[in-house]
Amino acid sequence: MARRGNTSPVEVGINYVVLFGFAVVSLWPIVSILAQAFGPSDASVAPGGLHLENFVMAWSQGQFSTYMLNSVLVSVTVVMVSVALSVPAGYAFGTMTFRGSTWLFYLFLFGIMVPTEAILVPLFFDLRQLHLVNTVVAVAGPQVAQSIAFGTYWMRTYFRSADRAITEAAIIDGAAPRQVLWRVQAPIARPAILTLVVLIFMWTWNEFLIPLVMSPTGTLRTAPLGLAFFQGQHVTNYALMGAAAVTVAAPVVVVYLFAQRYFIAGMTEGAVK
């Protein structure tokens, strides 16, 4: 299936070697942590077979049941709030003309560049004053704000290129603006919204610094933090560490394997546009 006729078989061969080598290097750390997770935990355990008891141990002893539940709570909150708010904001920027729209949009765009490291320390001390540290508000809040910055930009890009004829038809049929957005435009925008959902889910699930700072007592310790905490206790028990690490990574990896094109589209196009 050579696209250009004059590519020699030698070159095609080189291509396969490059592909293979690259794939091996990419997979090596992943395969080794999987081997660690499913391997025997110490010499007293019979070698061979899949040692699923490592996962049971990590889940119960390492309190990963609690950590995973915290992660679900935080991720669902961040995804739902930021998508529900980004879609109308992006719709307004993408389809309506109004005073101040340009600089207001740039203000949102600016947020994509601001590193967490710059805002987290003052935010922690201000929220502590308000007795909000160790709550969902403190852990989810900054992540909602960051996701809104990206989400508004992402949805604006989509709605700018979306078909307006259908909106005008709906208005002639007597639909109110809110109905036009949620009943007419949003269903058509599903691929763009789904991309936004999977990206925000991934960022929130994998986030480390924000829950570390915002939940100092560990009441809202999310899965990645649980792993860091676990490492402090079981640093030499590689099987347990592996099982815990695989557990933490699994939800996003599974979603990625099923919704791969949304991930790649979002992370590459989101930056190019």
Binding site: N15, P115, A118, L123, G141, V144, N206, F208, L227
Partner: protein, 311 residues
């Protein structure tokens, strides 16, 4: 009807109102759509950023009252070899997170672009995988690979280079490059996919013409492929340079800035100054400097990107 108002470059207030009422909305509608998003965004991002700038002008240890010091923290930071050194470490990490992946990605993408091979879909899935795995998990995996009895040392022993084997992350000289290579591993896939997409958009006719002129693969790469993906290179550079500067999780999980301060980076210093040493003013000073650095890099790279598109 719609086209006439869209053709106006800056619609007058009257035109705006007319258009708004035609779409069944009042002039306030766009603001109402934006307001909820803006309120949360302002409360949790813009406001803390302003507070950060304010905090950075004070010396505060969280116990005694804050003392105004003007730009004292900034002066102190630039005169502290450890803090200044952490920015230097970031510069080295940029080589590993950005420069090396872009060079590797260019070579691999150019090779793959010349002839289509089967299995490219599977390949894309695999090389992009490091991007979606939590950095904490990536760090756990690599800590094991780098350990004294890990597979990197095992590989060296097999190759007869056993003398080089060491605890990589505990070594004053090699800990920083070792952390950097984790970044190379994470970013190369993303960069390759970005570049492949860019090369895929390049006109086939250009290559045909070059081949008729007798250009070999190398000449073809420098004459056609490289100029065609300048825009993608800028995007890849922006993403990866920023990733190199915001690598708190990897440092926290692998070395905590050690041994000594050999892998301390600004991102880690912010956390350590605030919550380890109780130097909140200095922590925010480093945070603000990091933000300014990221704005500057974005600005410069954006300019380059615009030039690449114009040419």
């Amino acid at each position: 009807m719609a086209t006439s108002s869209r053709a106006e470059p800056r619609p007058s207030r009257l035109a705006r109102q007319r258009r708004a009422s035609r779409e069944g909305r009042s002039a306030a509608t766009p603001y109402l759509y934006i307001a909820p998003a803006f309120l949360l965004y302002a409360a949790f991002l813009l406001f803390p950023l302003v507070r950060a700038a304010q905090f950075s002008l004070y010396a505060w240890d969280t116990v005694s009252p804050a003392k105004f010091v003007g730009f004292g923290n900034y002066v102190k930071m630039f005169n502290d070899p450890d803090l200044l050194g952490s920015f230097g470490h970031s510069a080295i990490l940029i080589l590993f997170y950005a420069v090396l992946p872009i060079c590797l990605g260019l070579v691999v993408a150019a090779i793959l672009n010349r002839a289509q091979v089967r299995g490219l879909g599977f390949f894309r899935t695999v090389i992009f995988l490091p991007q979606v795995i939590a950095m904490v998990v990536v760090a756990v995996a690599w800590t094991r690979l780098y350990s004294t009895d890990g597979s990197i040392n095992a590989l060296l022993r097999i190759l007869g280079l056993g003398d080089l084997a060491r605890a990589w992350l505990g070594d004053y000289t090699f800990a920083l490059p070792a952390v950097g290579l984790i970044g190379t591993w994470v970013e190369t896939g993303l960069v390759t996919i970005l570049l492949l997409a860019g090369m895929g958009r390049t006109s086939r006719d250009l290559y045909e013409a070059a081949r008729l002129d007798g250009a070999g693969p190398v000449a073809e790469f420098f004459a056609i492929t490289l100029p065609a993906v300048r825009g993608e290179i800028v995007v890849a550079a922006t993403l990866t340079v920023v990733a190199a500067l915001k690598n708190f999780d990897v440092i926290y999980m692998t070395t905590r800035g050690g041994p000594g301060t050999s892998t301390a980076v600004p991102s880690y210093q912010v956390y350590n100054q605030a919550f380890g040493l109780g130097q909140v003013g200095m922590a925010t000073t480093i945070g603000v400097t990091l933000a300014l650095l990221i704005f500057g890099i974005n600005l410069v790279l954006n300019r380059l990107g615009d030039q690449a598109v114009e040419d």
